[in-house]
Symmetry: C2
Subunit: 197 residues, 2 copies
Amino acid sequence: MSLVTREAVDSRQDILRTAARLFHQHGYDATSMNDVAAALKLSKGGLYHHFQSKDEMLFHIMNHALDITEERVIKAVRGIQTPEERLRMLIRLHIEVVLSVRDREITVMLHENHPLPPSLRKQINQRKKDYIHFVEGVIADAQRQKGSKGTVTPRAAALALLGMINWIYQWYKPEGRLQAQDLISQYTEIIFAGTFQ
Amino acid sequence: MSLVTREAVDSRQDILRTAARLFHQHGYDATSMNDVAAALKLSKGGLYHHFQSKDEMLFHIMNHALDITEERVIKAVRGIQTPEERLRMLIRLHIEVVLSVRDREITVMLHENHPLPPSLRKQINQRKKDYIHFVEGVIADAQRQKGSKGTVTPRAAALALLGMINWIYQWYKPEGRLQAQDLISQYTEIIFAGTFQ
């Protein structure tokens, strides 16, 4: 990647990161394009050069959150041969994405219910569905490996697991009792053996 | 309760129910007090007689959602003697509240991140914490009854369970494959024994 392109990409990502932080702090509707431009010390024209509207920024924030998940979870677990280990690693890496200080304001936007134009909403929803499907496949493989009789379907298990993990942002406090490592080990234990071992 | 009081209560609840539906359909910020009054065929004065602001309506919607949870989950499970049965019933009843067609638009507002004035936000957060604490207690009792060695703490288990259940609104479709009964039995199985039985 040439230096010029690299800078252009960074600049777009900086804009999205700042916008996500403002949306998070002040609310999506209460934040204007002007607020985003001011926080970045950009002229309004400079911002509009990159993004035409708040909708467009929101769409790219959500897409970026899905890129992060794809890069740091899907790609990282695909190479693991044993299904059970693949599932353990998926739980660990997805929790780490959710707790990442750098990306938290980006990834949290995935779960906010702000109205996007239908064509953009559709693209985001399709990528979310693809991820659920991926998790479902990892669980199905692990169930086969462990010879489970399948009382719990891979679909219900995937939705339960994603609920547990994606809900973390609703209660997590960096200074709280439950730290990343506790969460990873205990959530893994729940998925593998329930809460009564 | 006299007839007059009963009607007054119904009228406030009707307003909250309609407001919750509009917030859900069009977004909180995009919905004005005027929109709520118009949908109810009330004059603006008639609406302001009950609620002074959107913040106040949002607060009462959230409080009402917590009343519903208290009434239909907490009160209903308190009488159950066996801890394990109490936990099973809690999972069932909380899922039923989340899936209730009548209350879905009310309860979903609990999880939306709209800015409330700090004093109101504090009251809601305290009630949410009380509920987490209640679930934690039910799980702790069940773990004691089953003699589990406690690899999974009641706190992590409570947060995982509430995540699984409260996340349902993000993906649930009434016409989808996973119906209430499937969800209840499979989520119960995950909490009791994991996904690999």
